[in-house]
């Protein structure tokens, strides 16, 4: 893992909605192949920050470069180089496994030949051969989520954004899911993940904790625990989030 090449570089990134400052001048860097945990209570500004990084929302001020592209002018290139999976499960339930893979690969502009190779490889890797022609709606939730993750990195993005990807999944499946995340990271894909599970925060290389639109803490889980003199991530999070003004 090379830690010297930033693929996300945000400086004083700010988003205001009228009088309300949702994201208040955040600055951080994320490096290639890193698993970066983006934590914060609901309403802390995580989603807004993530939307700016994905090129969905224009910042009010500050700068950010994603995979080397500018969030103001190069959203097109940014979208081409990122993958995204949200907390809501997001494949089409009335399409088969194979059709879903082909569709999402297709809108990222993969050629038919690439699609064929990649979908075959993916189905084999996940052991979904018997289910390939089944509707996604018939799969258990854990499988769906693994499939959704694999589909989100089918086009080999530089960075993949995961918005609470393991919500509502049992602990065993969550572990398996994290195995996929590690695999992706070891292949050089940077993983930017938000979560509410503190055990998952421990799996990350580095984490940032947002409170009231600012980054209140940033570092490896170990560093943060030492810094705040807490024995667990739960304690770290609680200590920081306690003082928040914007809660919901």
């Amino acid at each position: 893992m090379s830690m010297n090449e930033p693929v996300i570089k945000a400086e004083n990134l700010t988003k205001r909605f009228g009088d309300f400052t949702a994201v208040d001048a955040i600055s951080f860097e994320v490096y290639k192949g890193e698993i970066f945990g983006f934590l914060g209570a609901n309403g802390a500004g995580k989603t807004t920050a993530m939307r700016m990084l994905c090129g969905l929302s224009t910042p009010s001020s500050g700068t950010a470069r994603i995979a080397g592209f500018d969030v103001y002018r190069q959203t097109e290139q940014i979208k081409r180089n990122i993958g995204y999976m949200s907390q809501k499960f997001s494949l089409y339930e009335d399409l088969t496994v194979l059709e879903n893979i082909r569709f999402f690969g297709g809108i990222y502009g993969l050629s038919n030949q690439q699609l064929k190779l990649k979908s075959d490889a993916l189905i084999e890797r996940l052991g979904l051969q018997p289910e390939a022609k089944k509707m996604v709606g018939e799969l258990p939730l854990g499988w769906k989520q693994k499939l959704a993750f694999s589909v989100s990195i089918l086009h080999e993005p530089t960075i993949v954004f995961l918005d609470e990807p393991t919500g509502g999944v049992d602990p065993v499946t969550r572990r398996q899911f994290w195995a996929l995340i590690y695999e992706a990271a070891s292949n050089g894909i940077t993983v930017f993940v938000t979560t509410h599970y503190m055990d998952e925060a421990e799996y990350c290389n580095r984490i940032s904790i947002m409170v009231d639109g600012r980054i209140a803490a940033l570092g490896t889980p170990k560093e943060l625990k030492i810094q705040l003199n807490e024995s667990s991530m739960d304690g770290v999070f609680y200590q920081l989030a306690r003082g928040a003004k914007n809660k919901d």
Binding site: L91, Y92, I107
Partner: protein
């Protein structure tokens, strides 16, 4: 382009795999044509009537023959007394009774005046009016014929001609109406629901993060429904030609061009609704209450706009279906060309453009 085709293909999978959608898409036009064509008609066919002939003379006979010769009635001749007749009316066995008094012919020829009593079941006033009108006009006919031999000066006979629809069939009126209704439902509701569904499942987010441009997302949503709606237009027109025997008098090409324009108008409305709503239920409710109801009320298809109070007439002008209804009626029934309907076309175009522009604007705002 390849992405666009991938997307359109996916949309067709959604439609073809959802039985409810399919049913609404293809079952509804069929059902509506059948319902409006055969069940909900003001035409009178084989109404059961009873004729009580106390006269049994040539004059009463020839009137009864004339009534029998028309296809409107199913006659039972029976000398009923009042009580039995009333029971028959109450049980709904008869809709109308005609009573000839004894000495009908004698009175007619000697006193120049003879009554015929016509009693109708007016619990359904429209039906009763129609029946009595038919009977009166048959009697009128007979009278006119009698008078031809007698020189009566200064007789004014209005000669009525019902243009475009001489038999006063119901079909010419409702086919354009059904078309407007079905297209409104398919194009507005289905498009709105299909986009909002993607919002609900979170797939829209994925699409927006992808390099596939948002405008293309919207377009590839609209295209499948445009095609399906055109299939609907075709099936309705074919049914009207072959099942209801109502030929298209004007140009088919013009009919389809105007339908496409109306569909596009509806699609922009559907897209607008989908941008403004968050759940499928809300989208459906708005489409039904906000679109379907005005279409039924203000298109002129069920209630004549001319009879409405002025404020409602003004409101009716913003209902796209009203203009489409006029256009389709003009093409299908009157057989006119574009020259006669360019104004309506222009208005539809204006409404389509208006909603297209505000949809595009609110879509961009939503993205922020």
């Amino acid at each position: 382009m390849k992405q666009f085709i991938t997307f359109v293909k996916k949309e067709f999978y959604h439609v073809l795999r959802d039985r409810r959608t399919l049913l609404i898409l293809f079952g509804m036009p069929l059902a509506q044509i059948v319902i409006f064509g055969f069940a909900l008609t003001n035409e009178v066919k084989n109404a059961r009537i009873v004729i009580v002939d106390h006269a049994k003379d040539d004059a009463s006979r020839s009137i009864i023959d004339r009534i029998g010769a028309s296809n409107f009635f199913e006659i039972r001749e029976d000398v009923m007394d009042r009580n039995r007749m009333e029971t028959a009316f109450k049980e709904g066995k008869i809709k109308l009774a005609i009573l000839f008094p004894a000495n009908f012919q004698r009175d007619l020829f000697h006193q120049n005046h003879a009554p015929i009593q016509v009693i109708a079941d007016a619990s359904d006033p429209n039906y009763a009016t129609t029946l009595t009108n038919y009977v009166s006009s048959i009697i009128q006919d007979y009278q006119t014929e009698l008078n031809e031999t007698v020189a009566l000066p200064y007789r004014i006979t209005p000669q009525l001609r019902m243009l475009y629809n001489p038999q006063l069939k119901g079909a010419p009126n409702f086919v354009p109406g059904v078309m407007a209704l079905v297209l409104m439902l398919v194009s507005v509701m289905m498009t709105a629901i299909s986009i909002v569904r993607e919002k609900e499942t979170g797939t829209l987010e994925i699409l927006l993060v992808s390099p596939f441009k948002p405008v293309w997302v919207i377009l590839s949503k609209a295209v499948p429904y445009l095609i399906l709606s055109l299939v609907n237009v075709l099936s309705i027109v074919l049914m009207s030609v072959f099942v209801l025997q109502l030929p298209v008098e004007g140009s088919w090409l013009l009919l389809f061009a105007e339908s496409t324009l109306f569909i596009v108008t509806c699609l922009t409305l559907g897209i607008f609704i989908s941008i403004k709503t968050k759940s499928q239920q809300v989208a459906m409710l708005i489409s039904l209450m906000g679109m379907l109801l005005p279409t039924m009320m203000f298109s002129g298809f069920m209630f004549p706009i001319e009879n409405m109070p002025v404020p409602l007439q003004i409101i009716s002008n913003v209902v796209p279906a009203k203009w489409f209804y006029i256009i389709v009626k003009s093409i299908m029934i009157k057989g006119v060309g574009f020259a006669a309907i360019w104004k309506e076309t222009l208005i539809l175009l204006g409404i389509a453009l208006f909603f297209f522009v505000i949809s595009l604007r609110s879509f961009k705002i939503r993205l922020e």
